[in-house]
């Protein structure tokens, strides 16, 4: 019953999405009020309730291990721990697509409740969102239904990919989807604004909080993914320029550009066309990401559901969104207005320059990601585009963006006063040579990029600190204080990431050696002794656990696991975190030594200051949260002011 009910609820959500499109469209055409508008708003609720219940039923099916559902049979096992039974609901293609659709509905609901102030624009955005829902729910219902049956049912499931059985990865996909799908709301509002011929300034204000929420979640999702890769994949890397990582990085870069561009558009009416274009493009690149992961066009550690037929569906959705969005933009961009002029030393100019650098970075990442695919599809040679390309193209652009990043908050809008503003940055400017000198001293012999990255990290951190010190006391309202804190935190987070990346780039090469119990190994100043290797089987895996005693005190216990149901091995690394960095140990295969004893391959690595990456990501997310809170608080204050003015007018009359 659960499977069929879930299937029916997906069908109902698709039908309700159609009702949402029709009624919200009609309601918007009638000024955003009346029965049709209300029906449109209620249809979104029906979509969310239907999809949400279907998703809950899928989780119940996983908890019951109902292997008559093909998706459950393919991604679960009776002995799997409870957390991963739940997480498996979004651990594969069909379930994650249901989650994606549920998010689309939730963002539609958010638009209908806290979307643009103009009721007609809000309803129009709800109807555009309904078009996206129709595309994705159709794909779900007809080509990726998580409730498809497998009859006769197998007695046991195939288990979830063991490397996905990890707490960080249980949370990573939902956050990533909030990011990807959240950008659909910016797309919907931008497209609705073009249809309604809304002035750019109002449109910038309307789409900014949605873009900010989506970008913040995307940051958290990407950071969790990088953290997971660092400790779960067993080789200590956190970013590989993997095509699927790039697929999330491109919307992140454009999202970062969008939230800054939207500020300039909202405050000064600057770049309205560019802001709308970015809003359209960011979601299209999100859908491109879905295509890359789910179509089978590439091979990646992240790729799943390698199904060309589904790829055609997603390509169709991608083409529909791109053609529809850009055609609308071409026809209506003129209605957005041109905004006011500004000096080259104004804040708008610096935001614009940074926007161009971020967009150019996204562009070179896009080229590097899709070029091998296009070449392959056109019958050309199989090529692989890896870190050398991205380091040579995207990194310089991002370095330039880091140079400009701390300056903009000190510059005035429009024109004049640049010198006075920059004077506040003098202390931070002094940090630059100090940072470069310090970097050279600290990282003697380190790669040039690491020294530059470290110096720029300190430069950005200095700028963020100056910004907080200067602007926080001057902010008079709570909303303004949170806005300044959000900006400073997010910028400082970027600084920490640059610092962490630079430090990690200068890490010593890892050391791998076979050790017999009792033998020691020294790496990066740490001496470890292999005490023993013993069995440490878990609920659904067999494991060898090594006990490594550190000379400085403490033990590390890396594991080598075998998951019988999936017939797959994984490595669980052990990490000792200190301020200086992470000491990282992994255990590999047993090796027969020449003297007949059994040794175990032990891999040691030291990642200097890797914590800075995590701290940076956390600060960006916290900054995003503060900015969202500031936005909400400002909205409440504005509503109260309007209510007060209305009451006063009423009393006077």
């Amino acid at each position: 019953m659960i499977a069929e009910l879930g299937r029916f609820l997906i069908a109902l959500a698709l039908a309700a999405s159609f009702a949402q499109l029709v009624f919200a469209w009609k309601g918007a055409s009638r000024g955003g009020s009346g029965g049709f508008a209300e029906a449109g708003r209620l249809a979104v609720v029906a979509v969310v309730v239907s999809a949400g219940t279907a998703f809950a039923l899928l989780i119940v099916a996983f908890l019951q291990s109902d292997f008559s559902i093909a998706y459950v049979a393919g991604h679960s096992h009776i002995d799997k721990p409870l957390l991963y039974k739940v997480a498996a609901a979004w651990g594969g293609h069909e379930g994650s697509m249901l989650l994606w659709c549920l998010m689309l509905g939730l963002f539609g609901l958010a638009i209908s409740r806290v979307g643009p102030a103009d009721p007609a624009l809000r309803l129009r955005a709800v109807s555009v969102q309904a078009i996206l829902q129709l595309l994705f729910f159709s794909f779900l219902a007809f080509a990726s239904n998580p409730f498809d049956r497998l009859l006769p049912a197998p007695v046991q499931g195939a288990d979830l990919n063991p490397i996905l059985q990890d707490p960080a990865l249980a949370v990573h996909p939902p956050l990533l989807y909030v990011g990807y799908v959240g950008l659909s709301s910016a797309f919907a509002i931008a497209a609705a604004g073009l249809i309604e011929k809304t002035p750019g300034r109002a449109l910038g204000a309307a789409l900014r909080p949605f873009a900010l929420a989506a970008w913040t979640a995307l940051t958290a999702g990407i950071a969790l993914g990088a953290w997971w890769a660092y400790y779960e994949l067993g080789w200590g890397g956190w970013w590989f320029w993997d095509p699927v990582e790039n697929a999330s990085f491109m919307p992140w870069l454009l999202g970062a550009a969008l939230i800054h561009s939207a500020i300039a558009t909202e405050k000064r009416g600057a770049f309205p066309g560019w802001t709308v274009f970015l809003a359209l493009l960011a979601f299209i690149l999100s859908t491109l990401g879905a295509f890359l992961v789910r179509s089978g066009v590439l091979t990646s550690v992240h790729a799943f559901a390698l199904d060309p037929e589904r790829g055609v569906w997603i390509l169709g959705m991608l083409a529909s969104a791109a053609v529809g969005g850009f055609a609308l933009f071409a026809l209506r961009a003129g209605s957005l207005g041109e905004g006011e002029g500004f000096e080259p030393t104004s804040r708008e100019a610096f935001i614009g320059a940074n926007n161009l650098l971020l967009a150019a970075s996204a562009g070179v990442v896009l080229v590097g990601t899709v070029y091998p695919l296009i070449l392959d599809m056109s019958g050309g040679a199989a090529v692989s585009v890896g870190p050398p390309y991205f380091n040579a193209t995207a990194t310089p652009l991002m370095i330039a963006a880091l140079v400009l990043l701390p300056l903009a908050p000190f510059l005035p809008w429009a024109n004049g006063g640049a010198r006075a503003g920059l004077a506040q940055m003098r202390a931070a400017l002094l940090l630059l040579p100090v940072a470069i000198g310090g970097g050279v001293l600290i990282w003697m012999g380190a790669p040039v990029l690491a020294v530059i990255g470290g110096a720029l990290g300190l430069w950005v951190l200095g700028g963020a600190a100056m910004d907080a010190v200067g602007a926080l006391p001057a902010a008079r309202t709570r909303a303004l204080k949170f806005a300044v804190a959000g900006r400073a935190l997010a910028h400082a987070g970027v600084g920490f990431i640059a610092l962490g990346a630079a430090a990690d780039a200068s890490r010593p090469p890892e050391l791998t050696r076979a050790l017999v119990p009792g033998e020691s190994l020294t790496h990066a100043g740490h001496t470890v002794t292999l005490e023993d290797v013993h069995r440490a089987d878990g609920q659904n895996y067999l494991a060898d656990r090594a006990t490594l005693r550190l000379e400085r005190g403490g033990i590390l216990q890396p594991e080598r696991r075998y998951y019988p149901a999936a017939d797959q091995n994984t490595r669980e690394v052990a990490i000792r975190t200190r301020l200086s960095g992470d000491f990282y140990a992994a255990i590999g295969e047993p090796r027969l030594q020449p003297d007949g004893r059994v040794g175990y391959e032990i891999r040691l690595a030291f990642h200097p200051m890797i914590w800075a990456l995590g701290l940076g990501a956390f600060m960006i997310v916290l900054g995003g949260g503060c900015a969202l809170y500031a936005r909400a608080a400002g909205r409440v204050v504005q509503r109260r002011r309007v209510a007060g003015e209305t009451a006063a007018r009423g009393a006077n009359s």
């Binding site: 069908a11 698709l14 029965g35 049956r149 007695v155």
Partner: protein, 326 residues
């Protein structure tokens, strides 16, 4: 089916009414609302039906397990038997019988790592010669026939607990054989043969295996794990004349050694085999007779008989074959 259809229809109508209710405020609102409700419900059913299985109930794992436990195990597939045993173990984690059977089943389906884990778990709860022997055998299989120290420990403990169990003694013999101590191996194997009744299927099998291993030239090709010869053609690179001469020299050296030490049981078996395989049937029969007169214990005679049959030195009667080589 009827329950599901009714429930789905009810949900669809409620959803339709929920959405369409405000439309009643519009001009001609009531019929529009009704049509909308019907259209939403109809559309939901039309989207639902392709690929749907409304008549098929869900199959939670608990229901599958209940069915398997009720079923006669002999009617189940291997996969179902495994799941049945796993379910019993989940219900009663200390059920050593189920654990031991599961371990044996996993070993039989070439999932040795899992089998070792399950058998070790059973042994942590209760020590048993049978389970120890199964564990040892699984470790031997996992190590491609080599009786490792861990396997040896398991067999030794099993042998202590139940000396009458044939497998531990056989594998302890194999361990001795792999260590180069053929006399100890012959003692272990002889002891089992002595214990087993003439009609026991293990008796013939062990005798044949012992005869095969003990008759191999000790200085010949390196023995692989399990006593299998890694290569059976030590003289392959030589021309036939040279090879024949080398075999003859080896046989002569062996005969001389046995003249000095006639108690070398393995040596006699090797000599019989060498002569039989080099076409000296009469000489092989003479050596066999000599060996039989040297070793009058029943188990050693059984091993020699098994060798003679394997080499075609004596005709094998149907009854004998049934009795000793089953």
């Amino acid at each position: 089916m009827i329950v599901f259809a009714s429930l789905a229809a009810l949900i669809a109508v409620i959803a339709g009414l929920f959405i369409a209710r405000p439309l009643a405020r519009e001009k001609h609102g009531a019929p529009i609302a009704l049509v909308t409700t019907g259209a939403i419900a109809l559309a939901a059913f039309m989207i639902y039906f392709p690929g749907a299985e409304p008549g098929e109930p869900g199959q939670p794992h608990s229901a599958t397990v209940a069915r398997l436990i009720e079923a006669d195990p002999s009617t189940l597939t291997l996969e179902e038997q495994e799941e049945r045993l796993r379910a019993l173990v989940r219900r009663e984690p200390d059920n050593t019988q189920a654990l031991a059977m599961l371990g044996r089943l996993l070993a039989a389906t070439e999932r040795e790592l899992e089998a070792v884990s399950v058998l070790e778990r059973a042994l942590r709860i209760e020590e048993s010669a049978r389970t120890l022997s199964d564990l040892g055998q699984t470790l031997v299989t996992l190590n491609e026939g080599e009786v490792t120290p861990a396997a040896s420990r398991a067999f030794e403990r099993a042998y202590e607990l139940d000396p009458a169990l044939p497998e531990p003694a056989f594998f302890l013999g194999l361990r001795a054989y792999q260590d180069g101590d053929r006399e100890a191996a012959a003692r272990y194997w002889g002891a089992i043969i002595a214990q087993l009744e003439p009609g026991d299927p293990f008796r013939g099998a062990i005798a044949a295996r012992a005869a095969d291993l003990l008759s191999r030239p000790s200085a010949g090709p390196a023995l692989g794990a399990g006593g299998e010869a890694a290569g059976e053609a030590p003289f392959a690179d030589l021309d036939p004349g040279e090879a024949e001469a080398m075999v003859a020299a080896m046989v002569d050296r062996l005969q001389a050694r046995l003249d000095e030490n006639p108690d070398d049981f393995s040596g006699w078996m090797t000599l019989v085999r060498a002569r039989a395989t080099s076409g000296q049937r009469e000489a092989a029969l003479a050596s066999l007779a000599q060996a039989q007169s040297n070793f009058d214990s029943e188990p050693r005679r059984v091993m020699l008989s098994a060798l003679a049959r394997a080499l075609g030195l004596v005709p094998v009667s149907g009854a004998q074959q049934d009795e000793e080589t089953r």
